[in-house]
Every structure is written in structure tokens, then in C-alpha cells.
Amino acid sequence: MTFKYNNVYIENTSTVAGPYEAKGPLKKYFDKTFDDLYNKEKSWELAEAKSLEDAIATLLKKSKLNKKDIDCIISGDLLNQITSSCYSSQKYDFPFLGIYSACATSCEGIILASTMIDSKKVKKVIAATSSHNMSSEKQFRNPTEYGAPKPKTATFTATGGATILLSDTKSDIKVESSTIGRIIDLGQTDPLHMGSVMAPAAADTINRHLTDLKRTPDYYDLILTGDLGTYGKEILIDYMKTEFGTDISANYNDCGVMLYDLDKQKEVLAGGSGPVCSALVNYSIIYEKMKKKEIRRVLLVTTGALFSPTMVYQHENILSIAHAVSLEVVS
């Protein structure tokens, strides 16, 4: 399912990043960072909601907009009942749509927002997402103070909130097209190797996007997956070659690998993950580079493991999904 859009533009973005991300190579590109994982709140969940609330506030300030100018917000995160999205958006009285695609949430938001704007029913829509290392560890794994040892293939949930404002007002960058992902199951069961779970979903979506639009990978200056990490990235390149005979390695990178300095920040293991991981990279350095016209065509492919601890304990496979959005500098 691939759509093309005629009148959808990126008006602005905002990023609020946590302490580990601030120690990484993208620090100068973030709008705001915080040093304490609690973010001056009482719990991990509230800390996550606060980071998204700050990101929305920053977006409105940067765009010089009032909250009444926004038609709708589409937001999702990893927590049960998408808690941080609800508790942060509630402060602004926006009409609210909650979504879930695990770490593929940011592109799902952009696809929905773009389709709404393209249909001319709305003018300005915010797509938002957040995640928090500690709130995710608490919900999906062990208590945060436990520090259970993990294998090298494990990824590290990024902390922060990020938003993108899409609008029908012309700007330098447009949302050109998008592809909705399918749910993929290739028999993976290891929650500490999410790269292997998500790589086939990314491959499927990239392949369908390229086939639907009759394009080759070199059409894009950059193809970016969400959070496959070091090993998932290798798997995807190999998968694309073996299954589709397509070589993407020339202009391909992964946000999970870009968000941290993998040589210095050993605690992140195979790289970043979480819905905000890809959003923090795409809405900061990628957006800036596109604004400066250093890169003109980018394919964002956010990847999500639809991971349920309950189903894993019941010995079911982990499902995955990937959504793609193509961004282009308007010439």
C-alpha cells in the first residue's frame, strides 16, 4: 500500500533527549536535553510524559504557533495504554488520536497525518512519539536497578520525546510518498535480538516501496531504518541481496547506530531502539541536513517489534512491522 502526496510539507520538528543521547554524537542537533533520567518527575512514566510535553511546547514555540492553530495530534509510545502520549497531550487540549506500532510509531504518525492533510480535511497536524529507557525496562524486562546482563545483540531503549509538525503550507521539505507495512513473522523468538526480528519487516517494506514506485535504492540519497542496531543492519543488507537481489549498502544507515557513539557508549550494546530513537535522529540531524539541502531524498523506514512479554512466555514468535515515508527537498 503506497501513497503519493501532493501538498504535505514539514513545517517544523522538535526533539528533547535524555542523558545517554546527550552524550552521543547528535547532542548539538537536539533542541533540548535533560541530565537526570527522572526529568524532575516522581516516576519513570511521568518523566517520559514530561519529555514529550516539553517536545510539544518546544515545537509550538519554534513554529511561533498557538495551541489553537493545531488541528490534531497523533501520538504513540511503548507504554501500556500509550500512557505518556495521553498524559502529555492532555495538557494542550488538542484533538487527539492515539496509535501503536512499537518503534515504527513515528512513521505511522506521519503517514496518518499526511493522508489527512492530503485529503484537505485538516491543515496542521503534529505527529509525536516518546520512549524512556527505564519505563520500558520496567514494563518489558526486569526492575531497572536489577541490571541483568545482556548479550551483544540487545539494543538500548532511547529516552526522550520528539514531534514533527506537518502542514499544507509550502516549505522546503515535503512528504513525497509513504508505504504502510505488513506484519511479518519469520520465527524469531529472542527479545534480546530485536534486530533479527525487525530486519525482514524492513526488507519487505523497502522492497514494496521501491517496486510500487518503480524506483531503485539509488533514487534516494539515504535510506534509514529505525532501530535495527549493528547486527540487524548487517542482516537487512544480506536479506535484501539474497531475497530481492537489491544492494542497499551504498546509501543505507540505521538510526539506532547513529544515535550513540557505539565505541564509547558500551552500555548501549548493539545500538538504540524505542519509538523515539528513529524520531530523535530523523527530526534532528536528518531534518537539518535536508534544510541545508545536503541531502535531497530520504526514505525513512521505522521498524517495530510488536513484542508482548506475555506472548513470548507462551512461546509465540515475536511479530514485526515497518512503515516507510519518503521525504524530498522541494526544488
Partner: protein
């Protein structure tokens, strides 16, 4: 247009990093051994200082190790030690204490009943249940074979 699961498994295995198992086992062996030595020294100390039996002294030692592990967890750096030492700190009684304290800290915000009370045994619960069941089972075997 989706690859066979078997074929995909081959690709995944090809890109799997090798874990440093020997190094991990060595670190766990040394650090676990150090915990054991500390425990033994503590037992000897209690037995001679308080003039009590070795059995009583080892109970004192266990309580002390549990206290130290819980305190270090609460102070916030025991998790980093566990990540480094791995089973060297998880298998001894320090790991048991740490699993309860870390769960206790994590769920304190949800209140004393629904938070702390229901979740403190989140990790340790299985150890207690199967510990009690196997103790009963081996006690029965001992009774049958050795007569008590």
C-alpha cells in the same frame, strides 16, 4: 515474497556475534569466589568473636551479606556490579537479596499494597516456590533412603 524461516535463520546465525563466554565464566568464577571467601571469613569472625557455633555464625553471615547487598542496591550501584560480575553476584545470596530490593525500589511508587507488596517477589518468587518444593522432595528422599 517472504523468505523461508529456515533460510532466514541461516542469515541471522551468520551475523550473530560471538559472546565472550570463557571470559564471562572466569569473571563470575573469581567474583563469586571472592563473595564466598568474604562469607567464610565473616563466619570465622562471628564464631570466634561471639563464641557461637559455626551453624549460628553462618546464619549471622547470611544476614550480613543480605544487608550489604540490599544496601548497595538501594545506593544505586549494585546493578552495575551485577552487569559486570554476572552470575558471580547473582548465584550467591547477594543476588537473591538484590532481586527483591531492586523490585521493591521499582514498584514503591505504586504504593505499599499494589506496588511494593505485589511485586517484591517478582523475580524471587520462583526461587522461593521451587526452593520450598525441592527441599520438601529431597527431604522425602532422604527419609526414604537414609531413614531421616
Amino acid at each position: 515474497m517472504i523468505m523461508e524461516k529456515k533460510q532466514y535463520k541461516k542469515i541471522v546465525d551468520k551475523h550473530k556475534p560471538t559472546e565472550t563466554r570463557a571470559q564471562n565464566a572466569f569473571i563470575a568464577f573469581v567474583t563469586g569466589g571472592i563473595v564466598g571467601v568474604i562469607g567464610q571469613l565473616m563466619t570465622e569472625f562471628y564464631a570466634s568473636f561471639f563464641e557461637i557455633s559455626t551453624k549460628d555464625a553462618s546464619t549471622f553471615m547470611l544476614v550480613t551479606l543480605i544487608f550489604i547487598a540490599s544496601l548497595l542496591t538501594a545506593l544505586g550501584f549494585f546493578d552495575k556490579w551485577v552487569t559486570f560480575c554476572k552470575c558471580g553476584l547473582i548465584i550467591p545470596i547477594t543476588g537473591f537479596a538484590h532481586s527483591m530490593t531492586s523490585a521493591g525500589i521499582e514498584y514503591k511508587k505504586e504504593g505499599p499494597i499494589y506496588g511494593l507488596g505485589s511485586n517484591i517477589f517478582k523475580l524471587a518468587g520462583s526461587v522461593i516456590l521451587y526452593g520450598v518444593v525441592s527441599a520438601w522432595f529431597f527431604g522425602l528422599l532422604r527419609l526414604i533412603i537414609m531413614g531421616g
